[in-house]
Symmetry: D2
Subunit: 415 residues, 4 copies
Amino acid sequence: MSKGKVCLAYSGGLDTSIILAWLLEQGYEVVAFLANIGQEEDFEAAREKALKIGATKFIVSDVRKEFVEEVLFPAVQVNAIYENVYLLGTSLARPVIAKAQIEVAEQEGCFAVAHGCTGKGNDQVRFELSFYALKPDVVCIAPWRDPEFFERFAGRNDLLNYAAEKDIPVAQTKAKPWSTDENMAHISFEAGILEDPNTTPPKDMWKLTVDPEDAPDKPEFFDVHFEKGKPVKLVLENKTEVTDPVEIFLTANAIARRNGVGRIDIVENRFIGIKSRGCYETPGLTLLRTTHIDLEGLTVDREVRSIRDTFVTPTYSKLLYNGLYFTPEGEYVRTMIQPSQNTVNGVVRAKAYKGNVYNLGRYSETEKLYDATESSMDELTGFHPQEAGGFITTQAIRIKKYGESVREKGKFLGL
Amino acid sequence: MSKGKVCLAYSGGLDTSIILAWLLEQGYEVVAFLANIGQEEDFEAAREKALKIGATKFIVSDVRKEFVEEVLFPAVQVNAIYENVYLLGTSLARPVIAKAQIEVAEQEGCFAVAHGCTGKGNDQVRFELSFYALKPDVVCIAPWRDPEFFERFAGRNDLLNYAAEKDIPVAQTKAKPWSTDENMAHISFEAGILEDPNTTPPKDMWKLTVDPEDAPDKPEFFDVHFEKGKPVKLVLENKTEVTDPVEIFLTANAIARRNGVGRIDIVENRFIGIKSRGCYETPGLTLLRTTHIDLEGLTVDREVRSIRDTFVTPTYSKLLYNGLYFTPEGEYVRTMIQPSQNTVNGVVRAKAYKGNVYNLGRYSETEKLYDATESSMDELTGFHPQEAGGFITTQAIRIKKYGESVREKGKFLGL
Amino acid sequence: MSKGKVCLAYSGGLDTSIILAWLLEQGYEVVAFLANIGQEEDFEAAREKALKIGATKFIVSDVRKEFVEEVLFPAVQVNAIYENVYLLGTSLARPVIAKAQIEVAEQEGCFAVAHGCTGKGNDQVRFELSFYALKPDVVCIAPWRDPEFFERFAGRNDLLNYAAEKDIPVAQTKAKPWSTDENMAHISFEAGILEDPNTTPPKDMWKLTVDPEDAPDKPEFFDVHFEKGKPVKLVLENKTEVTDPVEIFLTANAIARRNGVGRIDIVENRFIGIKSRGCYETPGLTLLRTTHIDLEGLTVDREVRSIRDTFVTPTYSKLLYNGLYFTPEGEYVRTMIQPSQNTVNGVVRAKAYKGNVYNLGRYSETEKLYDATESSMDELTGFHPQEAGGFITTQAIRIKKYGESVREKGKFLGL
Amino acid sequence: MSKGKVCLAYSGGLDTSIILAWLLEQGYEVVAFLANIGQEEDFEAAREKALKIGATKFIVSDVRKEFVEEVLFPAVQVNAIYENVYLLGTSLARPVIAKAQIEVAEQEGCFAVAHGCTGKGNDQVRFELSFYALKPDVVCIAPWRDPEFFERFAGRNDLLNYAAEKDIPVAQTKAKPWSTDENMAHISFEAGILEDPNTTPPKDMWKLTVDPEDAPDKPEFFDVHFEKGKPVKLVLENKTEVTDPVEIFLTANAIARRNGVGRIDIVENRFIGIKSRGCYETPGLTLLRTTHIDLEGLTVDREVRSIRDTFVTPTYSKLLYNGLYFTPEGEYVRTMIQPSQNTVNGVVRAKAYKGNVYNLGRYSETEKLYDATESSMDELTGFHPQEAGGFITTQAIRIKKYGESVREKGKFLGL
């Protein structure tokens, strides 16, 4: 008698293969689920392995288009970034995967979902909060938080022995001294030798991008066209035009990858309160974000930008990082993105060169907030300089008053 | 009979020379003032010219040390940045210069201060609000906002004719098709051909930094040591150690300049509400800010950082940009910087290469918030993974509740 | 030959009557405009006076419905408040009036608009920024900022003399020692004897509300029904139901007025940087805001509320105060109001009594975020108390780590 | 053999008496701890009962002075408030009690601390996070989260039976249909019949304050003197002056209590994500907060106040509510309070009347930011009205530009 059907997020790797076998041993029926979110993966090998171990079914959901259109492009619009540096590559993927997994769970009649995330990381939170939001009565099975499981599999050898016992094929390649997670937007590296934050990652760790030192000696030029804040066309140096959203993203990736753009190496703060070191490659998203910010300078009103930068960007970035996409606040903050982007229409001309994207120029055929005449230091058309004096002296009313009191008491704090 | 003494911010250039002559013509006595804030300038030539034109005195104030210690290093501590990109090189210099000019005005008995800023820019605001704060009864003379002046000198020819008439020497070099402002932290380029935001700046415009494409083919390694968030030592690849604040800043500049670090090209929003295109080189500050942010990842508590990033950094950056250093809010926000930096003690190892600074590793001998054991995915010492489950399910209480109502009504907004 | 048509905001009072005559004297043709925004005013007397003085036309625009539906109810939804106390009664009216005035100006072919606001107040800013936004090429005539005018009319006697000269009727009532501004939402009192912030306003100054000490000795009960955050029904103690928006507002006013609700007396900070003392009566808006906040407790998610309270309410309130309704940021922040209100459906039972509104109970038939079972301290259905332990210990990871470092160094700042 | 010493927060009530007996039964030695934080409590009876049940020691810590000086007055300075309404009476007490309990635990050699908080509330979080911060290696025993305990004591009868079995005296008074928590600042009521948010609390529930309807028919006048934002003197109607901090607080309480000031009834959001209904009486704190806000209007710069209101007040209030006093962010935000208060020197004249505090006037002998001449609508000394025109037109540059684009496309969002 089965204890019921479980939908397991299955990658084909050692950990989730062991979990699959263990769930079967516990008496569950298991549907293996794998999201195609643009990672380099042998889906067919995963299918064979899952079924061989004993999964009832193996289901791949292709979420690439949804990932780009519904999640990555809004992230570009809002310039999402966590702790000044991290472009949230993993965080962005989680809601898409979780949604697909719940859909499979519902369609296959699974009462539970399972995953192979550790008990110390962010992903357990991101997946489970999404699961609970989307299907509040779902049961979450997290073997790495279950003492029965984690005490039994305390080291890699325990896993290998169990694999041998259960006849689970194990890749012969030596395990890398770090772990990775990959999707169309990025790859992450953490754990293992990276746990010493003073260890410089070895050159061969990086995977998606060429080392900037090995990148071409000539810059590569390209134009990004935006409409309402979303990339709608990418024009390459050879005049090739790309307009399909997924293709735009992949092409941005390609340009950035071959020019070494998008590597970072940081110590970040996980949701559960542990500091953690991570290295990331986020090539295309870096390129799109950089050009998007540039176009906002030309086309977005100062105060709208300030409100968006101060309130919306950090709030949305933090909630994405913490796995709170499917929440009331997630919904609320998402409604604040598009209204800030209605004027972000135009083109940024840029180049990628040895690790950087440089903005070279930008224009908009529809937006008029930038006005070269008005801006010009040589022109006074329609401008009365003496009025700027009133602007200053009126603001000075409050400041003079305070300055008087400071003079009585001493000096300003600081200078 | 003099109409009184005026302290004029005098650069030795055409504009302020004309203003000097014009002020004399108006019946003022003029003390010419020039701040040495690290710009490349022929101070002696300026002196001779000022005195030749008729200034009573020419006074240079050396504010370099104060600029670095009191303004630039706090800007590093707070990661100051405006509109995501601009490191505020000009804005940071203004309060230092204004303070020195007011000191000269007071010591020389001037009732007024004068400057050559245009009526469309930020600098008029930054200077005058500082003047009014420091000496509330001062009179500000801004000829470029005075119709009598700006109508008389409507074009460059009017200036040249007046110079000839007044026997003011004019440099024979052809005027560049943009204007610049320089200090130890940066140089700005704006106006002229840059007013078309789609014009890529010519290669020979950039002055402080080498073109990344011409930068060395080998990275240059260095270590930055911080104490309480301020740079206290810079160790070069050849093990040279620099510890004097001004020397640290100049050395950071040197490394960044020869590796093409710190160029930006943006459209920004001026305080008076005009969009404006500016190109900037901010080499050393870019290098120090990048490494400082990195060390904060290792040493600053997550919530302190979040509060600082969300509230303090944007507020302080905006008020600096708007010339509000000497204000109640300027003082108030400055008190918020140091308390966020007490744990920022440690070293960042980095390299500069063709336009970028890459952080390679970081360590702190005193701060323990990062704990490799705690962080480790392979270790459970002192950690009970099942408790993370409670963390998640407790947070899920609210989210499940909402998820139920979403299921009744349809789907989440977004995915 | 007329210098063109001007649309003057005309109240029928002494100041704007003088301005009307003066504009005619300057050679303008004048269309007198008066908004009916719910103030107690003799519109017919104003018409007769305007035409007698020489206005070409006198036009009253009834904006009461628009004021309630488009401005006051959204203010209730967002709990608008300035500097903790002021409910923005004047600020809220300005955009409605300005829009109506521009409509009249356009329809009557006026090239300019004029108003009688002083040069020290907020209203000049609120009106003119609205005028410029709605009709960027409009000319604003502000006689009280024109030296020719304000030097000529330096005191009340100058006004009276000119009135006599121009045969302008002057009300025989003695001027009150303060000025007022009234609309459906409130009345303001400022200037005159109120300029000493330590002067308690005389009892007979207050106009809209009864003195709490004279209010009925029995509380008055009522229920407010909200849908999507807007009041949709007011049920009186006698079971009368009011559902029309304007009627709801007027009824809320009536309840609050007779129970002394909505008086405040503050020193506030004007946009131009001057501190100013104001007394206000805002009866109905106080009542609606108080009950609305109460219902939000029952029906709005914690994080949505926090984001709205922290970001949206203060930002919107400040921009309303500063006259920035018709701006990009005004529009942007307005889009953030409704999405926070979709769950604000339900009823608040309350009573008004001697200056206060007390919430007595609240319920919602549709919203389920409050769950008495879940909340109950006596019930554990669906709740596993041990999981709260994991919630706490997981959050304690970061805090323990910091606690260790504090113990080494001394004690926490504060306790 | 004892399993070790535990310091139990002991109130003398049924729950903690059962817990005391149960801990002894489990083999612990127990030190009973009770904080005197101003609640009405029979400390001697609690002592006798604790010792009778078997506690090794009973220790009362008097924390009233520390509570007022280190916690309540800073809360007044920062105008602390949660979700617009709740003055945080319980939250404020928790860090003080937790600190005293840890001090007792350390001094008595206890390895653990225990409390009687439920698993659904805020207090468990507030206490335990404080315990862990102050003594990171402490063990927290929370019986109401321990299945062994809460399953054994599933209802009140189980408690009573156990009390009988263990010979624990039980008060003969009938349990009230709600629970309360009291300290010098407030009393809270929740649970029981209050769990239906539409149930109006019975008149006899309220304890600290007189019903406003029964309050005196004459207002009571008083003056509050503040220095650097802290109350330093309270002058009663009869001219009695109170200057000791604890006495000031108690006197504020007395005035407010007899005039029915400080009752609220809300639905709030607990940290663990459950909505909860609470009724609170916070008499003196309401009075002090109201007058403090009033004085800030007179004495604090607009921008300082805005920054404090927008950033500091909500951040500090939320972290207090969530029990995060002893955290890095708690410390950080506390450093932001005093610098905003240096100018808050002066006096507020006010009256209490039937549920309300009304500010009647305010003055400061030292602070000059308010300037009646400058503020006056009748005076132009030192003011040039035409400069306000420049203030407006300069701000209008950006807005006109936007207005043009709106005219092309339609109308502004909103009006």
